[in-house]
């Protein structure tokens, strides 16, 4: 296990390093003068020459990269070009807002996708299976931005059950402390706590539903296929020959073996959700990191772009690491397969 852990950690840091190279190179890759991209100071301005030397822009690119790396480690991401505030300070709330949306959607995706997938596999080729699979294919083929509009049209405009955009009705006057609206409400001393909570949850329904639609359908299909495969395995047949009930077969023998292969796919799905996060946050006017990133891209606010890209991608890497470590611990066979020993 130690060897497995060390290898995983090594690859994790390697990936982080590659990621930092990419974000570092953004200043150079984007159109325009790198120094202007980095600091917002245009060529010809008086401060240009000063900044050139003070930011050691005249040294080698390797030296500059090492400087950059040092700043990252100290969580010093520079100041925003448009507002002039410290990027890392601003990021905290934005990231928590997004994390809330992401985690809830992921949870919904797992809760919808996996049981339905197993149900379909259990009724392989029956009408239940066909129905679930067809619905999944439909849900899977609808683009997220279009689905969001449709849901808004139906639930917010036509039958007016749910609010259109935003996190919460501003009249509740909840102070933003952590960024996560639910935690904020629980922390606040508002006298309308329950009503505020209800309102916040109603606001969450549409974005969460939109964001979780694609991952849940993907998860459904992956789980279904994997379960069908596992149910054909000899050890499941042997368990059936021991007179075990179908439920016990599914949950005690099939589920762990299904998880073994579905878990790594979950990080992939999480990455996909990150991409959709930007779209969903923009449509629902959600004050999260995705919308922030989009705004920064339009304003060419490079420090923010670098910071958000790096953090979101690093988050996927961390998740991947956690999944790999859990998998190696719970399913020892997988580490044997990969490294021929532990």
């Amino acid at each position: 296990m130690t060897r497995y852990l060390m290898t995983r950690l090594f690859y994790f840091f390697l990936a982080l390093l590659v990621l930092s190279v990419v974000t570092f190179a953004l200043n150079w890759l984007f159109p325009g003068d790198p120094l202007t991209n980095m600091s917002g100071i245009r060529e010809g301005q008086a401060a240009y020459e000063v900044t050139l030397t003070s930011r050691s822009f005249d040294s080698t690119i390797i030296q500059q990269y090492l400087n950059y790396l040092e700043h990252i480690v100290r969580l010093d991401w520079g100041v925003s070009l448009s507002t002039g505030t410290d990027v890392w300070q601003d990021a905290a709330t934005y990231l928590v807002v997004s994390a809330e949306l992401l985690l809830l959607s992921f949870l919904v995706a797992v809760v919808i996708g996996m049981p339905l997938g197993m149900l379909a596999a259990n009724y392989f080729r029956h009408n239940i299976d066909k129905f679930i699979l067809t619905s999944a294919m439909t849900g899977y083929s609808i683009p997220v931005f279009w689905l969001a509009q449709l849901l808004i049209l139906l639930f917010a405009v036509q039958i007016e059950w749910l609010p259109i955009t935003g996190q919460i009705n501003p009249l509740y006057a909840i102070d933003s402390i952590t960024g996560s609206v639910i935690i904020d409400i629980l922390l606040s001393d508002s006298q309308y706590k329950l009503a505020a909570l209800q309102d916040a949850i109603l606001h969450l329904v549409l974005p969460v539903l939109t964001l979780s639609s694609l991952p849940s359908m993907l998860l459904l299909r992956i789980t279904r296929n994997q379960t069908i495969e596992v149910l054909q395995k000899p050890y499941v047949k042997a368990a059936r020959a021991r007179g075990l009930s179908q439920q016990r077969l599914l949950f005690r023998h099939a589920l762990p073996n299904v998880l073994q292969d579905v878990l790594p796919q979950m990080t992939f799905i999480f990455g996909l959700m990150m991409a959709n996060l930007v779209i969903v946050e923009h449509i629902f006017n959600w004050p999260g990191a995705g919308a922030w990133l989009l705004k920064a891209i339009i304003e060419r606010d490079y420090p923010i772009i670098q910071m958000v890209l790096f953090t979101l991608m690093a988050l996927i890497l961390v998740l991947n690491l956690l999944v790999e470590v859990y998998r190696g611990w719970r399913f020892p066979m997988t580490r044997e397969e990969r490294y021929g020993g532990y």
Binding site: A238, L244, M333, E336
Partner: protein, 330 residues
Amino acid sequence: MDLLDIRNLTIEMDGPHGRVRVLDKVSLQLKEGEVHSLVGESGSGKSLLAKAVIGVLNPLWDVTADRLWWNGKDLLAMTPKQRRAITGRDMAMIFQDPLAYLDPNSTVAEQITEAIPAGDVTGTFMHRRIDRKTRVAQLLHRVGIRDHDAIMQSYPYELSEGVAQKVSIAIAIAHRPKLLIADEPTTAMEPSTKDQIQRLLGKLAVSQNMSVLLITQDVASILPATQRVSLLYCGQMMEHGDTETILNRPAHPYTDAMIKMSLQAHAELEPKSKLPSLPGAVPTLRHMPIGCRLGPRCPYAQKQCVKAPLVRHREEQSYYCHFPLNEPES
């Protein structure tokens, strides 16, 4: 009363080329504590017979029988739940490739523990835990595994084939079944391991007073403790009876051929002489012969053989053939 009483068991399935009868009126009786070997080439339907007894056949196949009785109770008339109760309590099965038939993500201890009946361990939570652990160790000892601590913590991929088969036997005998079905348990194993497993099965049958239905491909690997033998070919029963009689005075040409094949396999042959075997090959499901299915390959076949022969009896054996061999001189 027989423990297992099968009369005219027929299994039919719909294939891509029409309806196929994969088991054709097979009868088999098994007494309590009896070791019975079921011999047949691959595709003869011996595993199907075992699955029909255990009740894990594909539900789309038609299973009909004059009798499929377990201890006097009709298995075919039972609900799946009643059937599972009997299968889980009184029957057990072990398979050819033990490594594939053990759950790759559970330890040996977990898998054996699962098979221990809930009634066996009582008391508080800790008591039950310790009880279970002792039971698992006992079971491992009983199948001849001495270093139980190391094996209990192992995952199946860490075991050798012989040990894995012993573990699956331990799982099988955990709930003290009355019948153990061993589906080619030693095929493709090293000779020494094969010998160990065979002796273990014979020993367990005596010590646990357990019937064993051993399924093998050739006459040479039937258990030394076998009391009765049945031979199956293409889903038809060829001959069954007392081991001694069958091996010494086979009545059916198929039995005769099987014995010659296995016993002469190691004998020295003249150069360029033909290997002792039946001519032709096992027919496919699509081209099943009518009547006696051995007909096209049988050296003694005549016109009459297009009609399926009825069962005939001779002292300790029963056979299905119009022209039996080794008739006693009268």
